[in-house]
Symmetry: C2
Subunit: 222 residues, 2 copies
């Protein structure tokens, strides 16, 4: 069978929903995701990196229901809440627009860079639904080329699932590690992360280390 | 297999979604349905039958995205839009509250009366998603006791699917029809609907009428 959502093949025991309920759920998502951020908005957001690009309109009610950070901001009547204008730091207009749009529709088309940027936004505003979505994308799209940068990003945001997946890719390619530019930078900027790579590599190759131990001179108790 | 949404059993060929996508869809519905009508609302609705029960708060942005009737009302800056107070005719406070809540969550627990009341509201405000939901409930819960009232309601709102289903129940019980109180009322109030019942009964029993024709005297060309 082929799943109508992700189009991947699945076995009977991976099926969970009948056709009717699937259509019903899809219609619910479309129904609930129809609110337009610009329609009768009561707040505007600006991207600090791109202020000239203009405002991203939204609704306080939607922002507080999706993010506990926005909830605290508006319910405590902080300055931003009263003025109806919020400046969002360290974000581009494109990312901010996609972030707000996701809060309304739960939809976004990701690429690697976008997934990283939105992951950071989702972490900052504690939008777990988006954070999980980006996390799944980043794990599924891990490869040798992006593994070190993804590993560094994941560490900055304590994303264990991504860290573990990135470490697997990195330690599977240890012979190429030291020739990477990012490796040199990481040693300088965050040596703890490099130590972790070596320690994980060693622990995952304990049998290899054991073989060497057995053959070494100080193993004469064997 | 048992569907995780409706809990009914289904065969392989009725499965459409893998477990992962089902969970993903469910999470989307929960994420999008989290907006609270009372949070930073910019409009209040009153039920004309129950005005003392108080206001039902909402957001113009949500109402216009779910209902083209509300869209016309607010976008054309009709009186209600400017005042931020809308009086909703011929509805109880309970039904209005459930209607508004459905616009935010796509969820409601129906019983027969509630399904009828919300069907009327959904028709009036052209909320097709809710109309379909009530329609499916009314068809699934049709029985001899509610068939005449459901048939009458469906006719008032031109709901062909319900009309057809109700006619099936009614014409399957023609021997009991004339003893029903609603039958006498319907003859008086809307005779066209009674004619339709008889005409459908005749058309569905055309073979029976044919047998009688064959045995009658004027069929001597046989």
């Amino acid at each position: 069978m082929r799943c109508k959502s992700c189009e991947s093949r699945f076995q009977d025991y991976y099926a969970d929903t009948c056709k009717q309920c699937h259509e019903h759920n899809k219609a619910k998502v479309a129904f609930l995701g129809a609110t337009q951020p610009a329609s009768f908005s009561d707040v505007v957001l600006f991207a600090s990196e791109d202020e000239a690009a203009g405002p991203v309109p939204a609704h306080k009610a939607v922002l507080v229901s999706r993010s506990p950070v926005f909830r605290a901001m508006f319910e405590n009547e902080m300055e931003e809440s009263l003025s109806g204008t919020i400046k969002i730091g360290e974000v581009s207009y494109r990312t901010l627009g996609a972030f707000v749009n996701y809060l309304y529709t739960a939809e976004v088309r990701l690429d690697q860079q976008f997934a990283c940027d939105l992951f950071v936004m989702a972490e900052k505003y504690q939008v777990h639904h988006l954070k999980d979505y980006c996390q799944n994308f980043l794990v599924a799209n891990l490869n040798w080329d992006n593994s070190l940068s993804t590993y560094t990003l994941a560490h900055r945001h304590n994303a264990k699932q991504i860290i573990d997946a990135a470490l697997t890719v990195i330690t599977d390619n240890m012979d190429k590690l030291t020739s990477r530019k990012e490796y040199a930078k990481l040693k300088e900027k965050d040596p703890q992360l490099v130590f972790e790579i070596y320690e994980v590599f060693l622990s995952r190759h304990s049998s290899f280390s054991c073989v060497r131990t057995v053959s070494s001179d100080d193993c004469d108790y064997w």
